[in-house]
């Protein structure tokens, strides 16, 4: 039966070729949309690793004439220390800590190291103080969090995320191990000062700084010194945990107090809850836009398909009439019309799947799991096949209306 439909499709290959291309392109468009949906959905259900409620972020803009000047850094650190004290003095602030890479912000200070196997590991490198964990409510799973005095140890203690520990050390216990970089020949990189050695002291749940939709798993926290310009530079952002129900009056008061400490610096205070809403909206808007567009395209293709099949049926009056005259039932004729288009669709889906799977196979978008691609293909197929069948229903019904006598006298 299917072999017969295949033959029928092949006989009219030129006309069917275009329909095939059309279904193929529609399938790829759907795959792209569903791919993004699947990626977002899979990330959405993973734990976030921090608590955004009642947290504010403070960004500091420090006017600088030069970069990396030790004296300037020492002065800026002293000011930063006063700022931190000011934050803690505010009655509504429960806890505050310097934190680059604040959640939902665009800022990304990443560090890349080459592992022994030659692959690169990119991770968020966040210097913070012991209070950082309380503010973001990071969840410790092994070892310890940063403690006062850590910034002066003879090594740099690191608290890393679970996925980073697994990537670096596999199933072995990461506590006490060092994070070593290698050069491109596989030789360990030497550090100039002993304190530059990165030693893992603790493991936390994955800290997904870029929010619910993103898949950022590698992050490390290490001590921020508030006085040593050699080991630390001045922080440019902070996180603050405040009492529930804190509003604008708090903002005004805190900004005023901070400005009094550092009149030349510019401050931006934001509620993390609002940042999160904005972040989510910014991700969903383009998706909604793309989805609507894809919907219109598919609708258009569907209507076009109905038209083309309709036309086909009128043109094949003789063939269909002959079948009816030779005893084919109405449903057999309808099944033929729908069967042909389904066969065509299956071929298109096959080609489309092969094309789409090139993305993970070629290593493009390597941060996206294969599961996302597979779900996108399955979801797109589940939409396309019933849709195409629906498009064939009316032309199929028209085909059953062909009168054998009328068809045979056609010529």
């Amino acid at each position: 039966m299917i072999a017969h439909y295949l033959k029928l499709v092949w006989n009219r290959r030129r006309a069917n070729g275009l329909i095939l291309v059309e279904i193929l392109v529609s399938f790829l468009v759907l795959c792209a949309v569903f791919g993004v949906v699947a990626y977002y959905a899979m990330n959405w259900f993973r734990p976030l690793g921090f608590d955004y409620r009642n947290v504010w972020t403070l960004e500091v803009d420090i006017p600088q004439a030069t970069l990396d000047d030790r004296e300037q850094t020492a002065r800026a650190l002293a000011t930063s220390q006063r700022l931190l004290a000011t934050m803690h003095d505010d009655p509504q602030v429960e806890s505050a800590a310097p934190m680059p890479n604040t959640p939902y912000s665009g800022s990304m200070s990443r560090r890349g190291i080459r592992l022994k196997d030659g692959s690169m590991l990119q991770y968020l490198s966040s210097p913070t103080t012991p209070e950082g964990r309380d503010v973001l409510r990071l969840e410790l799973v092994a070892g310890r969090w940063l403690e006062p005095g850590d910034e002066a140890l003879e090594f740099t203690p690191h608290v890393i995320t679970q996925d980073m520990a697994r990537r670096l050390f596999g199933r072995e216990n990461p506590i006490g191990r060092t994070i070593d970089g290698f050069d491109d020949k596989g030789q360990p990189e030497t550090v100039r000062e002993s304190w530059q050695v990165r030693r893992v002291v603790g493991v936390i749940r994955n800290y997904r700084k870029s929010g619910e939709f993103a898949d950022m798993r590698y992050a490390a926290f290490h001590p921020q010194s508030m006085s040593d310009p050699v080991r630390s530079s001045e922080p440019w952002s902070y996180v603050l945990r405040v009492n529930p129900g804190t509003r604008a009056a708090f903002e005004e008061r805190l900004l005023k107090a901070l400005r009094a400490e550092a009149p030349e610096w510019t401050f931006g205070l934001r509620s993390l809850e609002l940042e999160r809403q904005r972040h989510i909206r910014d991700r969903l808007m383009p998706l909604a836009f793309g989805g609507t567009l894809a919907g219109f395209l598919i609708l258009m293709v569907g209507m076009g398909l109905v038209g083309v099949l309709w036309q086909n049926v009128t043109r094949r009056t003789q063939e269909l009439g002959l079948r009816r005259a030779l005893g084919a039932t109405a449903s057999a004729v309808r099944n033929q019309i729908i069967g042909e288009i389904v066969v065509l669709t299956v071929i298109a889906l096959f080609i489309g799947t092969v094309l789409f799977l090139q993305l993970p196979l070629l290593g493009v978008l390597s941060f996206v799991g294969v599961g996302v691609f597979v779900s996108a293909i399955v979801a797109s197929s589940l939409v396309i096949v019933p849709f195409v069948i629906a498009c064939g229903l009316y032309p199929g019904w028209l085909a059953t209306q062909v009168e054998p006598a009328q068809a045979l006298q056609y010529e």
Partner: protein, 413 residues
């Protein structure tokens, strides 16, 4: 001849209403999206108020300092722009200003966030703001560091409600400014003009900004004519080696070049190569995206057109038998298709008027005021004709190749 084709096209459109509807639906939605995109692009690149002199303005927005293993790239500083960029021949006027950054004020316990920009006095003479009340600050206010401000209507409403804003004072970033002018809201896309509050550059709190080679400043260079852009860039490049580097052990050279708006956006979108924006690549990517988007609707239309040919096989056979050349038939079919596409384009155009109003009202883009102007209408028309030819050429070719004998017999396949 053309009248005949048009008559035929009209008849064919009426013959199969379903096909006509589907074709029109497809073309109008496709062209609607393309027209919205071109309206947005037009509003980004065209000289629209307040940036009325955009076509002869160059911007210094990006510089890079390099030394061995060190690089600092980004906006230039006031020190560099003031010391090395003034007095370039063919530059009629020059303005130095900062980017627009969020600044909060508190009004009755409520937070108001505005975009604040520090500018010099020339800024107001290169850009043409539409003043609702009061006026801009001039050289003397800038020289004195007067705490005066020009604010947008939106900022005026946020800060003062319905009261007249001019003469009132407000506080932001710990400084108090007196409003001396109110301007109409500026859309977000006007990169150099956009802000809610404009204040003299001399009110910046520290003095660090005056000296830096790099910093948070941009400059506009108003040329006497776009033809002299090349000369201005050459002079700019010739001055770079004379820049006295403030940290010679760290940074040795300074590079960068004044850019047009298009070059600025291209550099933002796809990056730079040797500090030069890749404008050609950027335009290529845009065209490619548009073509990719048109692909599916075009295949769809081709497909339907091919089906329709077969409906008209007897007609084509007769015309061929009576001596119509391939050219005639191709011409006829393409004209029919263009008529269809232009019709779809007209519908798309009307829809885009509505959709742009929707976008303006939605607040997705701050102060958006997308309007359709004759230029965008022409883009739309061009796109429609292009789309018509794109989707009509292959079916026309197929039609013209029909064998007249087969055709007269009503043959198929």
């Amino acid at each position: 001849m053309l009248t005949n084709y048009l008559k035929l096209a009209y008849k064919v459109l009426l013959r199969r209403k379903f096909f006509t509807f589907v074709s029109l639906f497809g073309t109008s939605v496709t062209l609607l999206v393309l027209m919205i995109a071109s309206a947005m692009l037009d509003h980004t690149f065209a000289p629209l108020p307040p940036e009325v002199r955009l076509d002869r303005t160059l911007h210094v927005t990006y510089m890079a300092m390099r030394g061995e293993g060190n690089e600092w790239s980004g906006s230039p500083g006031y020190g560099f722009l003031d010391r090395y960029c003034r007095g370039i021949p063919h530059v009629e006027r020059m303005s130095v200003f900062t980017g627009a950054h969020g600044a909060s004020s508190f009004v009755g316990g409520e937070k108001v966030v505005s975009q604040l920009r520090h500018t010099d006095a020339e800024y107001w003479s290169i850009l043409d703001f539409d003043f609702v009340a009061g006026q801009a600050y001039g050289e003397s206010e800038v020289a004195d560091g007067s705490h005066v401000a020009v604010i947008s209507e939106a900022a005026a409403r946020n800060l003062f409600g319905d009261r007249a804003a001019v003469g009132q004072s407000f506080e932001t970033r710990g400084q108090t400014f007196r409003v001396i002018g109110v301007v109409r809201n500026v859309p977000r896309m006007r990169e150099t003009a956009f802000a809610d509050i404009w204040v003299p550059v001399t009110t910046l709190p520290s003095d660090v900004w005056k000296t830096g080679l790099m910093g948070d400043f941009n400059a506009m260079l108003l040329a006497d004519s776009p033809r002299n852009f090349r000369a201005i860039r050459a002079e700019f490049a010739a001055r770079l080696p004379h820049v006295v580097m403030t940290e010679p052990d760290r940074y040795k050279t300074m590079s960068g070049s004044p850019r047009t708006r298009l070059e600025d956006i291209a550099a933002d979108a796809i990056g730079t190569k040797d500090d030069m924006p890749q404008t050609g690549l950027f335009i290529g990517v845009l065209v490619l995206l548009a073509l990719l988007f048109m692909l599916l609707p075009a295949i769809n239309l081709v497909n339907m057109n091919i089906s329709r040919i077969f409906e008209r096989v007897p007609e084509i056979g007769v015309r061929k038998a009576f001596g119509a050349s391939t050219g005639h038939l191709v011409g006829q079919f393409i004209v029919e298709n263009i008529v269809l596409a232009v019709l779809g384009g007209a519908i798309g155009f009307l829809l885009s008027l509505w959709a742009l109003q929707l976008i303006n009202g939605s607040g997705l883009i701050t102060n958006a005021d997308f309007q359709v102007n004759p230029r965008i209408f022409l883009y739309g028309l061009g796109l429609s004709v292009f789309f018509g030819v794109l989707s009509g050429a292959y079916p026309a070719w197929r039609m013209a190749r029909l064998d007249p004998v087969e055709a007269l017999r009503g043959g198929h396949r």
